[in-house]
Symmetry: C2
Subunit: 370 residues, 2 copies
Amino acid sequence: METRPYVSWQQMNDFMIDVFKAYGVPEEDAKICADVLLESDRRGIESHGCNRFKPIYIDRIVNGTLLPVTKIDIVKETPTTVVMDANNGMGMVASHKMMEMLIEKAKTYGMAGGAIYNSTHYGIAGYWTTMAEKAGMIGISGTNARPSVAPTFGVEPMMGTNPLTFTMPTDEEFPFNFDCATSTVQNGKIEFYERSGKPTPAGLVITKDGGTMTDSGTILKEMRKGNCALLPLGGLGEETGGYKGYGFTTIVEILSAALTGGPYMKELSGKNPDGSNRMYRLGHFFFVINPEFFMGLDTFKSTAGGILRGLRNSEKAPGAERIYTAGEKEHLAWLERKDKGVPVGESIQKELVELRDKLKLPYIFPFEQK
Amino acid sequence: METRPYVSWQQMNDFMIDVFKAYGVPEEDAKICADVLLESDRRGIESHGCNRFKPIYIDRIVNGTLLPVTKIDIVKETPTTVVMDANNGMGMVASHKMMEMLIEKAKTYGMAGGAIYNSTHYGIAGYWTTMAEKAGMIGISGTNARPSVAPTFGVEPMMGTNPLTFTMPTDEEFPFNFDCATSTVQNGKIEFYERSGKPTPAGLVITKDGGTMTDSGTILKEMRKGNCALLPLGGLGEETGGYKGYGFTTIVEILSAALTGGPYMKELSGKNPDGSNRMYRLGHFFFVINPEFFMGLDTFKSTAGGILRGLRNSEKAPGAERIYTAGEKEHLAWLERKDKGVPVGESIQKELVELRDKLKLPYIFPFEQK
């Protein structure tokens, strides 16, 4: 049962747009950014939603590591490809423009690909791949991020949690949407374990001495000091396939930087050697594939839907209630939340009130009404 | 230390071509098939090399589930895409033609994609992606296969071990090459554990009662009866990310079938309901991305190489000798084997002699010389 108070989608959306505008983000760009953050909450992905509004976006605009006005340079464009310099503006604004361009190209050419450099956090990767899916196409995207994942047989945080995201059309009410980190968990999950007073399962984190760590509070503390790293999907060593998760993370690290020649790994720490802040300079990549250039969208949708229904209807493990397919839990979260709004815990409530008071914006939130 | 006798690359290649020809494969096609199988051995991937020559190719030609003459129908072609019907011929021959076409398209258009249906086992996925890499491009490929992997919270073998393979150019002696099943292990690995008298690590296989199984011999026996299934990368349940491996396997299942409208999952068992053999009707997909349509091949290569060197040079876990990057072990296997040839164990020796004697071919293998 959800015990947190809700804020309506409309109010949260309007509020975010007004705050972004107050910090210098142009109105059209502010609308895009608010929609990307709220889409995460609509899908129940609370690590990338309004919880990040203040710390990852507003605070960074304030400290100068995120420019509110996004100057986009199209560095290269061909009939099927685009390379963009986001000039340390809003990664979500550059990504939105990129996907609009690629979808148009894929309508004409069937396939399109793009890469952005000098960018900032672009929200959930699944937002961009869903833009392709809504246009009847397959979307693929990934991004690098500050280093936190160790390679197999290593202990040093080298790569980001690097999502490798696919969204594909189906004949169902919701698409196939696979959108998650290529490490076993990302930081947000360990924060969740800590808040719930739970240990982190063994094999998710590696310490400098090659061991693992399960106390969630200690992990978060040591992670900040660089004394431990996340393990790739598949876990420690090679026996349970850890080198495969490591491979997927590396694919995303390469595609996010090599298509543009942008920075990678330790260069993405957001810190200068003296500890001062610097631009994040992230890179993202995007591919769009139009099924009409293969055997058609209807064929694609019904085949994909058939596979997903077959999986859900297969024999369940004893005690398992149901078998999900990727994107289904996000759809269920939306059905649960669509009439209620976004649930906000205490820390987010505080951030909203703080921003409202500081900017003297005329909002009264439901959680303030006794 | 390798204790098995070697057969030279030249002799094995010539022998395979002669045997394929004797079974009705045209000479040019036989050359392609022999090269694909031997490339697997050159990379040290012994599950997909000359060990499969007789059981997966020659025996299937004999039992009628693999046609030696590959009639390729180009069902659809656009400037950037190709859909092919392989008519149950040699999957390797159809895939070779597909990659030649896609590389040409990507030279002109920057991006290309293709899908094949009614196909048969196409060897290592990395062969096809390496064709793109040798042309200075990024290759991506995957294939479905007979059902053996259970979805998260399920126990029934539903999907293939479905590789999602990427090969990318670097400025090093060998490319980045990530080529493996999206399940934690495939059958071949459990056969390896059995031959070595080792248990299979817990969490790689799920039984009908939702438990795991570690006795390698029992696993192989029960797997054949459909009484257990492989688990996706990340293992049992959701806690260690099993739903992520499940997601990757599903992506490959969808792309392998939905671009063409071809069959999937249980339809790929190779058996009719009465237990008799039928055509496998596999599907494969291929994408080619040309870095010259982004910031250029040299930029791509040096950035990718920089990332891979950074990973190898990062801090190792205590006791770890080195950190590898994907494709490095395959390169090391080649350096070890290139002057010696392909090592053949007793079962392969028997198969080679049996084929040679049956066809009265004039070969004397080194392991026959006392």
